[in-house]
């Protein structure tokens, strides 16, 4: 895209203002490029972590379903369902935010709730049910972790798009526009100077001619 010359008045003050603005735009572009590279690094790291957690979650769910099917087979469907209905997991979920290069990302923290009563198992002190319960808790923890990573991915992706657009606008529109305007003004002033010199020379010549005729 061809850069447009943006100028209200072709004056030297305007030229100084434009030069100042070009310096500022270049500085901001440098910072934005740094921010972009950091955001991309964080994004890629989150993608890697997300893939690891997904793999782990899949394995944990497999184990949990195996344990659950064993419990169902041993105790029967009704007692296990009864246990699941009345049992309570003693934990709470704390949601907050963390800041990564200006992007607010969610943080979910699972906290053990010591005051809550432990789950009572009507099916007796079944090690199978306890094992199933442990496996489910692990699954839940991994699910929470994955939810955090997925939302972080979305937010980071959006921010990367936004920063990229700003960077492109600066790189391909604003800075070339300022450059070309500064060049245009400089050329205009140089031309004005040259005209001034030519005019002075002409005036000098006229004065010399007049003086020559006077003698």
């Amino acid at each position: 895209m061809a850069a447009k010359i943006r100028i209200a008045r072709p004056t030297k003050i305007e030229l100084a203002r434009l030069k100042r603005r070009l310096r500022l735009a270049t500085r901001i572009q440098k910072i934005i490029k740094d921010r972009l590279s950091i955001l991309v690094m964080e994004f890629l790291q989150t993608v890697r972590e997300s893939a690891e957690v997904k793999e782990r979650l899949q394995k944990e769910y497999e184990d949990a379903y195996k344990a659950l099917s064993l419990s169902l087979g041993y105790h029967g469907y009704a007692p296990v369902e009864q246990t699941l209905m009345i049992s309570e997991m003693p934990f709470s979920l704390h949601a907050a935010t963390r800041n990564v290069a200006g992007v607010r990302l969610p943080v979910f923290q699972m906290e053990e709730n010591r005051e809550a009563p432990q789950a009572v198992l009507p099916a007796g002190n079944s090690s199978l049910l306890e094992y199933t319960s442990d496996m489910v808790r692990k699954c839940l923890s991994a699910t929470v972790e994955l939810a955090e990573l997925q939302s972080a991915l979305e937010l980071l992706g959006d921010e990367i798009n936004k920063v990229k657009r700003i960077n492109n606008a600066l790189e391909y529109v604003v800075i070339p526009g300022l450059d070309i305007t500064i060049k245009y003004l400089s050329m205009k002033f140089e031309e004005r100077d040259r005209e001034e010199v030519a005019r002075l020379k002409y005036v000098k010549l006229l004065i010399e001619k007049r003086e020559a005729y006077a003698y």
């Binding site: 943006r6 100028i7 440098k30 910072i31 740094d34 690094m41 200006g102 923290q109």
Partner: protein, 146 residues
Amino acid sequence: MPIEQEKDDVMAHYLGSELSSVNSQLPKKRKTLSQLLHEEHPRVCCLDGSEHFFRIDELRYLASILDDHEREELLLPMIIEVHSGMSEMLVRSTRGGDEGAVEAKVFANVLGMPASVEKTGVRIYRSQLGAMRRTLKTTTQYVFTL
């Protein structure tokens, strides 16, 4: 020749505000590790009014590699200065006399290699940043400088 003065003014205003908004995520005041360990929900307030939360696991990890005195010295979040156009970053540090000694110990533990300590702070390289951020997600923050 097209004259777009209004658009130009908007751009000038935008450029001015962009520079200030880039680092608005910095904390208003940093807290020591020992202070944060005593809080139920450890967090600091940021310049833009938001809150930055610290993971308890990370704080416990830091506490496990530092002694009592160092826990009092270490200010969190650790600020990583990203200088434009440079491959290395600087972690400015504590209020104590040994500038960067505590941070250097933390990074040495995280990276598994000694960190280079300078007068101004601890110097880390871009290649080390990924490993460090992976372990210290909430206890480090970026600041962009020229």
